[in-house]
Amino acid sequence: MPRLEVRKTYKLYIGGKFPRSESGRSYEVSSAGRSPKFLANAAQGSRKDIRDAVVAARGAVKGWSGATAYNRGQVLYRVGEVLEGRRDQFIAEVAASEGLTKPQATKLVDAAIDRWVWYAGWPDKLAQVLGNLNPVAGPYFDISAPEPTGVVGVLAPQDSSLLGLVSVIAPAIVSGNTVVVVASEDRPLPAISLGEVLATSDVPAGVVNIVTGRTAELAPWLASHADVNALDLTGATELPWAELEASAAETLKRVVRPAGDGSGAEEPDWLVTPDLSRMHAFLETKTVWHPKGM
């Protein structure tokens, strides 16, 4: 007789802890594909969970952005190591979540780990690549360097449950931002497993916060939250993202629109090698002047 599997309870990941939704709600998550199968009950996060997550994210900004770039790189690389150790688990979760064969899922999980490692190398290079001395016409030392914008709200891609997720979280946090992520509504399980990876790999509590639930319910709270500095609408492919962008305008959040043309929105091909744009989107250029004199 085969051994009975010990199932996991999927909860939220907020402030380094794994609470249930304060609302007490959960929703059924099934596998993708022709014959959906029950996978788990995910926590159905509420606006108050978003609120708590923003508090946690704000609280983590000082420490994370204040850490040395070298330290952030070390911590993020450590995440890559732990991801690698859980590779099989993620392959199974991605295969089930996205309705893929094991080889297909393997390709995506490997790409996700490699992408994370790619981003892990960026923290101590961004300032060199994006910053510079300015040769002003006067006796001044004048330097421009990128700084994190603060708390980033992220609507994670709806389809790509791990590679897409990693591709939106990593570029936001490498520079010292913290994030509140609304996971893929129908495919949230790899996101919570990623939370477990983060919780066990030296990423300070609150740097990444993951809320599962109904994107349409949660996104407006994130878009309108005054303590959120930027909004990534990549996962707003099924939502009226114009309204979310308009809401974000009330506090002039930096906004990354969903991919696509015109008012449409589509999920990008995550296997394409990234460039700087996602990191760039959540950076501010600070310019400091000082006179040079004896």
Partner: protein
């Protein structure tokens, strides 16, 4: 009895510039009449004398301008080599230098700022902007913005009245250098130097339609923002309008950069070079009558030296010369408009009502025109409106702090994040504080310095995007995918 050194009037000559009685819209390389024939007047704020009638562009006029810009983009400008574009910009830079005196006089007449500022700051810096960006036009692949940065197309630009020509330069120079064409709206109270700039474009033989100048007020600006043929909006102005623009473009693929308001803290530590700090405070808030988005409007001074700093500041303010902007010795000119004067008056009245102590030097303000004496409020706390709201006038709020952490906390305690100042002789403290300030520009032991090579722009509700420097080019280029 000691004689007093009175400076006799030293007026700049008004006759160096010809002002037409009326101006059309500059569209497709020609001055054209507005479709519905509407116009408005622009006045000299120092005298309330009418300077000229200026056309009011309707949505139909804006549409014509955008079409002209699109045509110029498709047929000429986007096909031209960067080197050739650069040569046009060099021409413009030289023409601005050649006609510098004209521009300075016109700017002062239309804006009310002291001639010494338009002459020594606005106009030369505007020319410098064109020089700097001219050189970029054929070097964009070296800007670190990807291997093949592409222009965006037609850029709509809406600029404020505080630095009319300089803001025009900040907008047009990078847009043209990166291969875009432009529809620009100057502020309704200060359209004249933009219209003179149109003439410079003609002297430079700039292809028709590459630069279009449409004059008008809010509705004209809105027509630009809403026009579907505009690929990018660049706006400098109030945070309220910036938010409206951000809402208006929501759901479109228009790119936006916004350079908005500020409430900068100018932090003076007890070890500061005090005489230079006082100069920096004065320059920070009274430069351009305080009509500066990055003005150091909140003085945060360490409590142990607060009395001394205020004393020195007051003594210094007694030497400020307020009056005729055309006088070469004037330090503080006219408030730009009656509306702005009303706003400043309202906020300063609120400062008194909320219990702050108001002080101004004895100055005799001219009878006609819009004037406001340099004003210092002491005993201000963070909760006062004058400590939170952008006054955009010659009004300084003095607050105190005890520790560096408190200074940083107070400095950052605002939805704005455009600029900040630090005064200290201790290098490591400056660097630590500069790191902690949430502001796009930090001036340490100086204030209100601008340079074409130095990126300028804000954090938080002071907007997004940068102007100037390598970073400023990014605002006008499609450099990266969306992955």
């Amino acid at each position: 009895m000691t004689p007093k050194f009175e400076y006799a009037p030293a007026p700049e000559s008004r006759s160096v510039v010809d002002i037409a009685s009326s101006y059309g819209l500059f569209i497709g390389g020609d001055f054209v009449d507005p479709t519905d024939g509407k116009s408005f007047k622009t006045v000299n704020p120092a005298t309330e004398e009418k300077l000229a009638d200026v056309s009011e562009a309707s949505a139909a006029d804006v549409d014509k301008a955008v079409r002209a810009a699109r045509r110029a983009y498709d047929r000429t400008w986007s096909r031209m080599s960067g080197a050739e574009r650069g040569k046009y910009l060099y021409r413009i830079a030289r023409l601005l230098q050649e006609r510098a005196r004209e521009f300075a006089v016109l700017e002062t007449l239309d804006n009310g700022k002291p001639i010494k500022e338009s002459r020594d700051v606005d106009v030369p810096t505007a020319a410098a902007h064109f020089f700097y960006h001219a050189g970029w036009a054929d070097k964009l692949e070296y800007a670190g913005l990807g291997p093949a940065p592409k222009s965006l197309g037609v850029v709509g630009q809406v600029i404020p009245w505080n630095f009319p020509l300089l803001m025009l330069a900040w907008k047009i120079a990078p847009a043209l250098a990166t291969g875009n064409t432009v529809v620009l709206k100057p502020a309704e109270t200060t359209p004249l130097t933009a219209l003179l700039f149109a003439e410079v474009c003609r002297q430079a033989d700039l292809p028709p339609g590459v630069v279009n100048i449409v004059t008008g007020a809010g509705p004209t600006g809105q027509a630009i923002v809403d026009h579907p043929g505009v690929d990018k909006i660049a706006f400098t102005g109030s945070t309220d309008v910036g938010k409206a623009i951000a809402r208006a473009v929501a759901g479109t693929r228009k790119r936006v950069t916004l350079e908005l308001g500020g409430k900068a803290a100018n932090i003076v530590f007890d070890d500061a070079a005090i005489d230079q700090a006082v100069e920096g405070i004065v320059n920070g808030i009274f430069f351009n009558q305080g009509h500066v988005c990055c003005a150091g409007s909140r003085l945060l001074v360490q409590e142990s030296i607060a009395d001394d700093v205020v004393h020195r500041l007051q003594r210094r303010l007694r030497t400020l010369r307020v009056g005729d902007p055309m006088d070469k010795n004037t330090d503080v000119g006219a408030i730009n408009s009656a509306a702005q004067l009303a706003r400043i008056t309202e906020l300063t009245d609120a400062g008194v009502a909320e219990g702050a102590q108001r002080w101004s030097p004895d100055v005799e303000l001219p009878k006609r025109g819009y004037w406001f004496a340099p004003t210092v409020f002491t005993g201000v706390s963070q909760t006062h409106r004058i400590a939170r709201e952008e006054i955009f006038g010659p009004v300084l709020s003095v607050l105190t702090f005890r520790t560096p952490d408190e200074a940083v906390a107070k400095a950052n305690n605002t939805p704005y994040g455009l600029s900040a100042g630090i005064w200290s002789e201790k290098g490591s403290r400056i660097l630590a504080i500069a790191d902690k300030l949430r502001a796009g520009v930090v001036w340490a032991n100086t204030f209100n310095r601008f340079d074409p090579t130095s990126p300028f722009g804000g954090y938080k509700e002071s907007g997004y995007g940068r102007e100037g420097g390598r970073q400023g080019l990014a605002a006008y280029l499609d450099t990266e995918g969306t992955h």
